[in-house]
Every structure is written in C-alpha cells, then in structure tokens.
C-alpha cells in the first residue's frame, strides 16, 4: 500500500469552481533505465487516474513514462451537490489505490 494524498474543500457554495488536488507516491519507472547490474529496470508506472463525484466520472487521465515520480494532478470542478469525491489510480500491474473526500455544498 502506498500513500495517496487528496485535497478537496470541505465546504463550497453551489456552482462554485473548486480546485481538487491528488498526489500518489509512485516510482513511475520508465522501463528505459538500466540498473547497476546492467539489466533494464522493468517499467512500472501509474497508467490511469479517475476521479468521480457522487459516483459520476468528472476527470480522468492517462499517464505515460514521461511523467515524473509521485505524480501530482490538480484540476477544477463545479460544486454541484454534497457528496463523496473518489480517486482511483491504476498501475500497469493492475494494482489500484483509492482515496476519497467528502464535500458539503450549500
């Protein structure tokens, strides 16, 4: 289990544009590097990130080897209703990591 950090405002006014941030600890190994023993280090990257708001996908991203370790994504959304915002990262081994945060919209 690795560490994921998310930041969502606890409260927002209906219709307000909110900033959402998400960062996961991950090596993002490109697969193009040689280890000290001369053997290529296998690729190990996060491939996909999905953010859902009240169960509906509002943002997703495909990630590639050019993206640095510990990818940090920041994006905007419109606060529409109180609910849970969920985050899911999937790596190229099929492993997933999730996080979530609640928002109260008034």
């Amino acid at each position: 289990m690795t560490r994921a950090l998310v930041n969502v405002p606890k409260t927002a006014k209906r219709g307000e544009v909110i900033e959402i941030r998400a960062m996961i600890q991950h090596v993002m190994e490109t697969g193009y590097r040689e280890g000290p023993n001369g053997v290529m280090i296998p690729r190990h990257i996060i491939k996909r990130f999905v953010c859902k708001y009240g169960g509906e996908e509002i943002f997703s991203a495909e990630l590639f080897p050019a993206i640095a370790a510990n990818p940090f994504l920041s994006f905007s959304a419109v606060a529409s209703e109180s609910g849970t915002i969920t985050f899911e990262w999937t790596d190229d081994k099929g492993e997933t990591q999730t996080a979530s945060a609640d928002i109260t919209v008034t």
């Binding site: 950090l5 941030r21 960062m23 600890q25 940090f72």
Partner: protein, 365 residues
C-alpha cells in the same frame, strides 16, 4: 582597493542556528571591518545605488562615484517576499525567517523561549537552490535539542518543498538516535509544499493540509540580493551566471560575482564555498589586470552541521570548471560515515568550531 559594505558590523550566518537554540550568543557572530583598513584597503560603509558599466564606475548613496578597473560583488541573498502568498516582510515578525543572522535570529530564539512545553514548532524549507543547503536540517536538529532539554513534550514539523536534502541519511539517523519522535519531516511527495501562510494565526497551508504552529519559522525561496540587479549581473532566474575560472559575470564584462548569489553548478551556497571562490577570483583579477591568462582552478567546500552541541557531521567537495560550470571532481570529497562512535561525532563538532574561528579570523583579522 575599496571595500564598499552597507553594514558596519557583519553578523555571521554559520553557527547562528546555535544562537537560536540558546547555545551561543549573537555577539559571538559579530565581526567588524577595522582590521581590514590599512593594508591598501579603504572601507566605505555605504550602499551602492548604481553601477555604470560603460564608464566603469559605482555610485554610492552619498552621491560619491568610485571608478573601477575590475568590480567584484558578493551580493549574498534576498529573501523573496513574493514567493509564498501571505508571507511578506511584515509577516517575518510573526513567522521569522532567521535566514539572515541578526535581529531575526534573536526573534526566533525568543519565540522558542516563550513557547509552552507541549507546543508545536513548524518550519518550512524551500526548493533548491537556496543559501546553506544543510541549514534547515541543522536548525531543526538544534531546535529539537533545545526542546528536548527544556520543553520535552514539544514537537517540530519540517515542511519541505523537496524530496531529498543534504546529508539526509546522517541527519535522519541522528534524529532517530537523539530526538526520537520529536522531528517530523514532511517531504514534497508527502504534501510538504507550502502554498500559503496566515501569519496572524501562524498557520501553514500546504497542497494537502494545514499546520498551525506555536512557533513558526518560514525559510522562503531566495534570489541574489538587490545589488546584483543594480549591477545587472542577475539573470531571469534571480541568480548570477559567472565564468567558473575567473568568476567574471557572463552578463557584464569587468564585473566579478561571488558567493551565494552565483549559479555555481555543483558548488553549494555556503560561507566556505564563497571564501574559496573569493580566493580564486582575487588571483584571477590580479592575472587579468596584468594581462595574464588565469589558470583553471580547483575549489574546496566543507559544510559542518551540528545535530547537537557535541554531535557534528560534515560534507566536503572539490570542484573544477567543466562545461562552463563548477563541477564535482569525481572521487574527491565525501560525507561523514554513517556508522561512527560518539567520540567521532564530538570531534567533528570541535572541527566545526575550529573552522568557524579560522574562517572569521582569516576574513576579518
């Protein structure tokens, strides 16, 4: 030769972390310029207001002009009060930086002394480059030493805009040994980047949370100090590109730049490094005035850090010009060993003390 220096007293930054922790007095950090007078050196305590590179002259704040054949500037740093929203010059009262030794050093010390046992000290460290790469971690160590001695229920959180720092393994091992559970280092990847501060409540807002401090120490991002801009030697990064053989500015012929203000490649922004650069630059200036070609130099840096009064660690490097920058000489230098008896750490602490005495004696007489 004329030395133009705005301040009549120099307050040394090395060892000022020990002043913050109450292990030393600020007076021990102060040096005067009197012994430099004579020896063909005029010392003028004035500010430089303008540099005319065409006529090769410097204007002082009393209106006087000084002509030069070669101008050497050691700007030092300015703290960037435009870098962290909420952190202005005025907020340095509530959240001292103490990154220039003097009143700020004493202010941070007084705030630590006034804090209750069980309080939380929050520090923030900037991304590279900045003055004294191991400095924030030495400071965290010595504050922890003060807390352990006087306020043992207290805690220190160090928010960092980096994922790695100088002498990291040595510092982290020493923290575990000397101050278990007392120092929490929050790296960039764990949300250490400060995006805003609220001085009224001594609050740090990071990308992923907030930290309210009883004592707050903000070490903000930095740039070459104002005189670098006056002389036209700083580029858009805020720092000064120089030739690594002569330290002549890449932007202004005839002006040489030294110390924390320069883009020195592998060489860190330290007092030891600045002093090494000054010696090389002085020799190069003499060569250039005599129309000789300066030889390619080798420069040394050593940085001592105190983790406790009797626990010193060090990093040393040797540098030479390569590809237009100062570059590590492979295989030279090194850091203190990871495994060492207490007597070894104690000895390094005495070396640190001897180094401070030697360099200040060498510079100020």
């Amino acid at each position: 030769m004329t030395l133009v220096e705005a301040n009549s007293t120099y307050v040394a930054c090395p060892f000022s972390n020990a002043v913050i922790a109450g292990l030393r007095e600020l007076d021990q950090q102060k040096f005067g310029y009197d012994r430099l007078r004579g020896n063909g050196i005029d010392v003028v305590h004035r500010k430089v207001t303008a540099v005319d590179t065409k006529s090769r002259s410097v204007r002082l704040d009393d209106g006087k002009q000084l002509a030069y054949d070669r101008l050497v500037v050691a700007p030092g740093i300015d703290l960037r009060f435009d870098a962290i929203p909420g952190y202005t010059e005025a907020s340095a009262e509530a959240m001292p930086h103490a990154w220039k030794a003097g009143e700020q050093t004493l202010l941070l010390r007084r705030q630590l002394e006034a804090m209750n046992d069980g309080g939380v000290v929050v520090m923030s460290a900037p991304a590279n480059p900045f003055r004294c790469p191991p400095g924030p971690y030495e400071r965290a160590s010595l504050i922890a030493h003060y807390l352990k001695t006087h306020k043992p229920r207290s805690k220190l959180i160090l928010l960092d805009a980096k994922d790695a720092f100088s002498k990291q393994k040595l510092f982290e091992a020493a923290w575990k040994e000397l101050y278990p559970g007392m120092i929490e280092w929050v790296s960039l990847s764990f949300g250490g980047q400060v995006t805003r501060v609220e001085p009224a409540t001594r609050t740090f807002i990071t990308e992923f949370g907030t930290h309210k401090a009883d004592v707050a120490n903000v070490i903000p991002p930095q740039r070459a100090a104002a005189v670098a801009a006056i002389a036209g030697v700083a580029d858009q990064t805020g720092w000064c590109p120089v030739d690594p053989v002569t330290f002549e500015s890449r932007l202004q012929p005839g002006i040489h730049v030294l110390g924390d203000a320069i883009i020195a490649g592998g060489m860190p922004k330290s007092a030891f490094a600045a002093n090494s650069q000054a010696r090389v630059c002085a020799a190069a200036v003499v060569d250039l005035l005599r129309e000789r070609t300066p030889a390619s130099p080798k420069l040394i840096n050593t940085c001592y850090s105190l983790v406790a009064p009797d626990y010193g660690i060090s990093i040393a490097g040797v540098y030479q010009p390569a590809n237009g920058l100062l570059t590590d000489v492979p295989g030279a230098g090194g850091v203190s060993p990871m495994e060492a008896p207490k007597s070894f750490r104690a000895q390094e602490a005495t070396y640190a003390d001897a180094w401070f005495k030697t360099i200040t004696r060498g510079v100020f007489g």
